[in-house]
Every structure is written in structure tokens, then in C-alpha cells.
Symmetry: C2
Subunit: 403 residues, 2 copies
């Protein structure tokens, strides 16, 4: 069990009959670091929290999953500050010790009075089970997303716990969802900052659900030192490795739970000339609607996969020699040395299909994750949208394609 963190979640009424307000507290002031969305319409909560990081003395993260409080006008900054202040007051800490996170409807005023009213109940709900936070930060997620790793340091065993939410508006650069990573190890803010940035590059920056980058996405890491395990020169690498594993597990969970997804797609690139091109090539297929729709139809779509790779390399001027390219799908090599092999791949009934692309140019590798493109993705983003704003549009019935 991770030491010195507590978790709470309640329904504040931002959404109907669903937990929508979450709180994480640290018994001791924690070192903190984070990576946030670069979207120029990013929300006040992201700007406010990022300005506090990397830093020390953080005591809490308060998050709501009903309203993004983004692109919401002049009141946006004030309401975000009130959300932090309400949590700080209820916990008896400084508002600058509280990070805020919001996700949900954009462009709609944050119902701050409801949030303020729910705060005492939220604090009362604090307990040792992180699942209540995982549940309360979900939006279109179908599953809770929690991962953890234990690791040994000189002073004993410490733990890293990650909690994430994310299903749509998932795309690299950056950070594609909310993730809170907690550790009871003792980590300096700068080391925590370095570790979280490296881990994000290999995890959340390597998944895509729909190529859309949110206004609100953020990854925050807190380290409260309660385990007395110190992260220093000797143990830093072990810590970074464990942190990267936690984030990768969360990232894969997000890709597999992509809006409407019926299958996770894993793209492993090898033989790339350098790490940058390996990463950019690996992401190209999971960003292709055409390829993703083929996979939804249980078709391997190897030709669309390669077309997406070819387009990406042309667009970004990445090295590619057609004659050296090989592609293996779930163990069957369908394309070798620049030509179809004649073998037919069949997508299995597994939850994940693995595409292995060898570029034959060097030794760099990268792995990206995504999901297929289904009717359900359209439903979630066309019809749910209408349900949420019912009455807003006079002609609210979706115009369906002729099927």
C-alpha cells in the first residue's frame, strides 16, 4: 500500500448521479512535477498548476470530471482559483499547495457553487482506496485506470501509484488525458521533473485515439517521502524505470479504452535511423482514420498502414527506403523487403493486435498504441454531445448515414 496519500470522490452534481469531484491528499508536503497540454486554448487549471511546478510543499490535487472550465471567458480564472481555495480551506492548507484539474464540457461556465458546497463531503470521503479517484475522474472512460509498481531502494521498498482517465481527445503533444502519479519515495522536485518528462515521452506521448489534443490534459506527479526511500544517484535509474512502467501501463489502458474502441493496436517500430523518427513513424498508423476503420472491420489493413507511414515520412522528411521495409502482423510477415510476401494476416480475437514494422535503416526502436475507429466513436462524439445539450438545438436528431 502506498503510504501517506488519501483519496476521495463524490458527486457534486456537475454530472447527474455520477461521481464527478475527486481529491488526492498527501499527509506530508510533497515534491511535485508535471507535464501539461501545449494547446494555446489551455484551461486556467492547467496554467495555474503548471506555474507551481516543479515545486515542493504540494498537499492536494482536486479534480472535476464534468466541466473543463476551458474557453469559458473571464470567469474561468476566478472559478479555478475558487476551486483551489475551497479545497485548501476544507483541508486547512495554503491554496498554493493545491493543484487543480478539470475535464469535461468545454465553453460552459464551471458550476463553482456546487463544487464549493460539495467540498466538506469530499474531504470526509477521504480513505486509502485510490479506486474512488479513478472512478470520479472518468468521463467517457469505460474502465478505471490504475497501475502501480514497487521498487527497492537503499532504505527499503517504495511504491509508485498511477491513476488516469482518458478515452477521447487523446493525442500526443501533449499530454492527452489526466494522470496523477504518486510515490512515497523521497524525490527532489528536479529529479521528479526529469523522471516524469522522460516517462511521458515513452508513454502518453506515444498514444493516439483521435489526433485531437485537449485543452485540459495534464500529468502531475507527487512524491511525499513517507517510505523513507531516497531517490539519489544510485536509485534514480530504478525509480525512473518503475515510473516509466506505471505510465506505460496507464497509456496502454487509455489506448485500449479509446472512445468506441473494440481493439487496441500496438505498433512496434524497429530498425529506425534514430529515436525521433522511430517515434514519429510508430504513431502514424494509429493516427490514420482509414487504417483504424479497416481494423474495426477486422481487416489487417497493411496497405493503409504502409500508406500512412509513407505519408508521414514524406511530410516530416523522415528517412525511409521502401525496399528495406518489412511488416509483421500478429506474427505473420505480410510485407518483406519492399514487396507483399503473399502471406495473409488475420486479426485474432485478442484485445490487441501487434504490428511490427522494421525499417531496416538502423537500431532505434519505438512503440505506439492506439485503437480502431468504430461507429461508437461517432456515436459518443455526435449523439452524446446532443444528449448533453438537449434542447439547445431545435433540430437535435443526428443525421445518420444511409445504412
Amino acid at each position: 500500500m502506498i503510504q501517506g496519500f488519501r483519496f476521495g470522490g463524490v458527486c457534486a452534481g456537475i454530472k447527474k448521479n455520477t461521481a464527478d469531484l475527486a481529491l488526492i491528499t498527501s499527509d506530508l508536503p510533497a515534491a511535485a512535477a508535471g507535464v501539461v497540454t501545449r494547446n494555446l486554448f489551455r484551461a486556467s487549471c492547467v496554467e495555474r498548476s503548471a506555474a507551481l511546478l516543479p515545486g515542493a510543499g504540494i498537499r492536494a490535487i482536486v479534480a472535476n470530471s464534468g466541466n473543463a472550465n476551458a474557453i469559458a471567458g473571464a470567469e474561468e480564472v476566478t472559478r479555478d482559483a475558487r476551486m483551489a481555495a475551497a479545497a485548501a480551506l476544507a483541508l486547512g492548507v495554503d491554496p498554493r499547495a493545491v493543484l487543480t484539474a478539470s475535464t469535461g464540457a468545454i465553453g460552459v461556465p464551471l458550476p463553482i457553487v456546487a463544487i464549493e458546497a460539495a467540498m466538506p463531503q469530499l474531504v470526509s470521503s477521504l480513505n486509502t482506496d485510490p479506486a474512488v479517484v479513478a472512478r470520479a475522474i472518468r468521463t467517457t472512460d469505460r474502465r478505471d485506470k490504475i497501475a502501480h509498481r514497487d521498487f527497492r531502494g537503499a532504505q527499503g521498498t517504495a511504491r509508485i501509484l498511477g491513476i488516469a482517465k482518458g478515452a477521447g481527445m487523446i493525442h500526443p503533444c501533449m499530454a492527452t488525458m489526466l494522470a496523477f502519479v504518486l510515490t512515497d519515495a523521497q524525490v527532489a522536485p528536479d529529479e521528479l521533473d526529469r523522471a516524469i518528462r522522460e516517462a511521458v515521452d515513452e508513454s502518453f506521448h506515444m498514444i493516439s485515439v483521435d489526433r485531437d489534443t485537449s485543452t485540459n490534459d495534464a500529468v502531475y506527479a507527487l512524491a511525499n517521502g513517507m517510505s523513507a526511500v531516497r531517490i539519489d544517484g544510485a536509485s534514480a535509474e530504478t525509480f525512473r524505470g518503475a515510473l516509466a512502467e506505471v505510465l506505460a501501463e496507464l497509456a496502454k489502458a487509455i489506448a485500449g479504452d479509446g472512445e468506441g474502441a473494440t481493439r487496441r493496436i500496438c505498433v512496434r517500430v524497429s530498425g529506425a535511423k534514430d529515436a525521433r523518427s522511430a517515434r514519429l513513424v510508430a504513431r502514424a498508423p494509429v493516427e490514420s482514420n482509414l487504417f483504424k476503420a479497416a481494423v474495426f472491420g477486422r481487416f489487417p489493413g497493411w496497405e493503409r498502414f504502409l500508406a500512412a507511414v509513407g505519408a508521414r515520412c514524406a511530410q516530416l522528411d523522415l528517412p525511409l527506403l521502401r525496399d528495406r521495409v518489412s511488416l509483421t502482423i500478429d506474427g505473420v510477415t505480410v510485407f518483406r523487403d519492399g514487396a507483399p510476401s503473399g502471406a495473409t494476416a488475420v486479426l485474432s480475437d485478442q484485445a490487441e493486435s501487434v504490428y511490427e514494422l522494421d525499417l531496416g535503416l538502423g537500431t532505434a526502436t519505438a512503440t505506439a498504441w492506439g485503437c480502431d475507429l468504430s461507429y461508437e466513436y461517432v456515436t459518443i462524439n455526435a449523439e452524446t454531445k446532443l444528449a448533453r445539450h438537449a434542447g439547445g438545438a431545435p433540430d437535435a436528431a443526428p443525421v445518420r448515414g444511409q445504412r
Copy 2:
């Protein structure tokens, strides 16, 4: 009527019971220029034709719409050359006077024998009606796409005629479909090259259906001089303007006929700092699945529109000041000076919705076109795919989302 061009189309059996082989001939050797896809897996036909351009002496374009002859292995180059040779033989011209174009299934051997067998019938079908070509090059297109403009030169009136196909795999950089642009004006190859490149930048490079760039897309322009209208210093600008109008009309037709589209989206950006950022910003919303799904649900999706713009500007380091941004949807200003105006836009029943984004930074403008994202897009790219390869996969039933 355009002078000196003839048009043919037949069913060669590449597709079932559908015209799939098209021919355009010029009675006189024509100046020719083109813009082709940069995809590194681009097809042999694209490489072969591009190598002949800009140039003179072109007599024909032969195109098939059943098989892309791309990523198809060692036979790909030979079969493309045989397609050109078969047309050249039937027409009694040099093979190097024939441009080839292919679109359709990727990674499947081109049925060249069927194409060769159909060639005499194709030549016999030549007549003055361009609609037969427009029909024979369609793939998932629901409508023929033809546009024309007359313009005055010193020697009289000349005509520009454009024929295009394109519905999916439509995305800038480049060229996103097949388009053949013919004129009976007399234009030097270099001038034609300049004119077509400029026009493509404002038209085909400004549409997106699904962010996927094809292996086969190409725009070819032929000028046979039959009208005796010479394009020179005095008339070049008029010619370029007319050519740009023809291409813009075709590009809009492609966007409105996007796979599964129920509505065209027009994004007009003004107040940009420079032309490049205006173009890149204008394309961002029509490349956002989230925004496009909202429009399919008849929801204006202004917040997703702005989120897409904010993400793009961050990603490409384009200038954006939130407080200067205004957005007007079908005449209703929903966002002004960085904040929601409180006004509610309602998408009309029109075939096109117009989004006007003012960045408030300068005087540059750009217009982009796209379409909504519907169930039908998924159907076309998941289920049609299966139908085409019926029997190829043992478990061919698409896994539908729970609806």
C-alpha cells in the same frame, strides 16, 4: 465546348459492372504539368507520369479506378508501363506521350491483361462528353465532379475544363485525389506548371476528409492550344485566376462528397499574421475527428473548433493571441475577443456550414473545406473493405459498436 479533347470510359472488369477505365486524348500534342502525392509509398504511375512533367507532346491520360497498382511488389512498374503502352498502341502514339493514373485497392496486383483487352473498346468509346471520364474514375464518390470556366484572351475565348474524383484518403501534402485539368489555350509548360501549383495550393491543398494522404493522388494539366488563345505576360494572370476557380470548385465538390459526409464545412480564416499560418489554422478544424463528429450531430462544436486551432498553433508554433480571437458560425458570432459571446449558433439545413475565424493579428486570409465524420465513413472503410476482399478473412463480420 472545349476544343480538341475527347473522352472515353468503359468497364474493363477491374470492378464489377461499373465503368473503371477512362481515357482522355488531345488531338494535338499538349503541354503538360502536374502535382503528385509525396507519399514515400507512392505508386509507379505517379512516379512515371511525374518524370514526364512539366513537358510537351502529351497526347493522352489513361486512368483506372479499380486498382491503385501501389505497394504491389516487383510487377508494379512493369504493369504500369504496360498500361501506358497499351493506350499508346491503340492510339498510335508514343508511350511517353501517355500519362497513367490509377486509384483503388492498394497492394493487389493490377489486372493488366483485362486492361489491355479493353483498350480497343476504350478508344472506340471516345467522344466529346467529359462526363464519361468523370464517371469512370469514381471510386467511393457519390457524384461526378466536373467544373469549367471560359476566359477571354487577345485571340478570343478559351476554356478550362476540370474533372476530378476523390472522397476518402483526402488530405493535403499532396495531392489528395485524381484531377485532370484541360485547356484549349496555348500555354508553355513552365507557365502551366506555375499556374497549376499555385492553384493547387489554394484548392486541393486546402481540403481534408480524413487526414490520410494517398499513394496515388495526382493533378495533371494539359494545354493543347486548339483555341489559338495564347497565354503570355498579358493574359497569364487571367488564366491563373480561371484555373484557380476550376480547381477550387472541384476541391469543394470533393470535400462535400467526402466519404459518408452529410455536410460540407467551410472554414474562412482572416486576420492571420501571414498566409502560411492562415492556411495551417484553417485546415486544423476540418482535420479534427472530434469537431467533425459534433457537426455530424448537428452541433456547432465551436469549443472543439477552437481546441483544434489551439492545438495546431501550439504544435506548429503559429501566432495566436486568445484575447483577439472571434468565431462566427453561419452568421452568428459565438466567440468574441477571447470569450464566449453567449449567442447560440444553430447549424442550418444547408449543405454547407461556414465557420469564420478572425485571429485579429494581421491581414492574411485562407479558406479550407472539409466534411463531417459520420457512421457512413466507418461503414465505407470497415465494411466495404470486407466486401471487396470477401473470403479473404475467415472472420469477416465487422464488430459493431454497441448501439
